[in-house]
Symmetry: none
DNA sequence: AATGAATGAGTCTTCATTCAT
DNA sequence: GATGAATGAAGACTCATTCAT
């Protein structure tokens, strides 16, 4: 992967996350990456190919994060680590942009199955089970839904204080 | 408001909700509304003017719904009615499309302040207060965030069982 | 059919006939027709749609010409009229261009069935039959093949004297 | 001439003959020849240089064929050998493609003078003269025109029975 | 000799918008 | 109020060609 290829990838990631996939023109990506427009197509074939490449690259990072949660045995730690997803979302430009892109794409393309979340659900269900919750399955789903909501607010509602809200959840879940 | 104007409005509502604002061309709106493309601009000036008109029209419906919740004094009823937002989201084509559009636009344009939700928050805070919750403000915000998450799932995750999840919440909130 | 539409059509006809279909850019057609490039697509949908429109329009002219031959009962007159196809090929800019286009397209796109020539073959076979030729079918095909050859030379070989060659054929066929 | 150079040449020959010169991209030639695109330009300078090389290589083959006809003294044999051009057109992939390319290019680029055919005309004129035809010059031209027509049909009209047509000509010319 | 990265000009096409009628 | 013709700018993508290695 040449330097220019990397430039394209990260320029596109930021622009897609900021403006959306359709709304971002390949010419703007090229300009931001300081690259001729044609090069995008030579390397990624399509605008979609470009998107695919971005996603695939990020997916690996995501898997690592989930793996860390899934392997955790201490139930409270599972919950705590789950809430730390927020740190990824608020991470450096590239990491944060990637997570924002995930949600943007969900809404724009209605693509991206939740199946890759399945392992997280299993981990959460186990954790809630161990913690004695009566409906661990529902609790797990509920928590994941809540995280989608938090992401929505975090990315879209200017001034939303996600930290205080997460602290509240720490208290609520007693962790 | 002539019939053709209405046609344009509802055609645009559906298309914007389905495909997104940018991705929907005025020509497709015109075709779906059985109207010449020029007419859109005569009536709404802009593509954005068209969006504005849709939003404004829907806003009124939304206000009515929130008003009903805000005026409610029985705290458990406040919660129950809040969860009934789901029925609106699952409503007939136009109502459902309108709510979907709200979220789509949030992500696409990152516009639409939450201020119109402020009244709902107040109502929920009061309700949680009356119900003896220790942190009514945080509980209110938490519930609203949860609703955003539920909407995300409802619209995007094929096969998501929102009803069972809401029933779970009924139990959780003991209503 | 507005004036601009006609302009597009005849500009395209000339350019396609001169340079070929693929080699002619829609932007050059637009420029030659004094028209915005977009208009081509509004009226003809595609570059191919434009070609289709040209062909269909010319096809009618061709049918008329063949009809005149087919209805002729005097066999020598049938042959004479067949050779008059040359006058069409050498006709005014539009007519000449149309016939040239036919051959260009044959070679460029390998499209255009000969079935529309079938009626001409029948007429020629009958004529040769009446004139006592022993193999009227083969004579008919041979003459049509010869005409393809003449067209090839007429359009491509600078300085080819088609008239003297046709006069020779008049003598050969004794007409 | 290295092996890769040969690969390029024959890949280009086939593609040009199949799709036309303009319609064939250098990238497709490179792909078909299993060669980097740059190599085409290193060896042939231009896309046109590539064409030139193909033509020049083929020209030699053509000269050999014509030479055989020209040196023939028996007039009927001259005619017979002329009709055997068909065997070259129907020859193996490379030989057939080369002849098809000749005609394709005639129509696409309107290049390729007939002067290289001049020697064939002389041979035919002599033959017709010896055979006692009254207008040997015109007969010669006529036959060559006919061959262009036969080529047109052979390459473009699916199902055209060129053999039966040539047999008919054998009878007609009494050879 | 050979590659593969890189480019700039050009291709077809779509889009929001204007205007005469 | 309503149409449909018309446009200019921008969109994704392709192409012949160059150049460093």
């Amino acid at each position: 992967m040449t330097e220019k290829q990397e430039n394209i990838l990260s320029a596109a990631l930021e622009l897609f996350a900021e403006e959306g996939f359709k709304a971002t023109s390949t010419s703007r990506v090229a300009k931001k990456a300081n690259v001729s427009e044609g090069l995008i197509f030579r390397h990624f074939k399509n605008k979609e190919g470009l998107l695919e490449a971005i996603i695939q690259k990020g997916e690996e990072k995501a898997k690592l994060m989930f793996a860390d949660i899934v392997l955790e045995t201490e139930p409270k730690e599972v919950l705590r680590k789950t809430f730390q997803i927020k740190d990824a979302m608020a991470g450096d430009e590239k990491e944060g942009a990637f997570w924002k892109l995930q949600y943007k794409l969900k809404w724009e393309l209605e693509r991206y199955g939740e199946n890759k979340m399945e392992s997280l659900k299993v981990a959460l269900r186990n954790a809630f089970n161990k913690l004695g919750y009566e409906e661990p399955e529902e609790e797990a789903v509920n928590l994941m839904v809540l995280i989608d909501g938090l992401a929505t607010r975090f990315y879209l509602q200017e001034g939303f204080n996600i930290d205080s809200q997460i602290e509240f959840l720490y208290r609520k879940y007693n962790i």
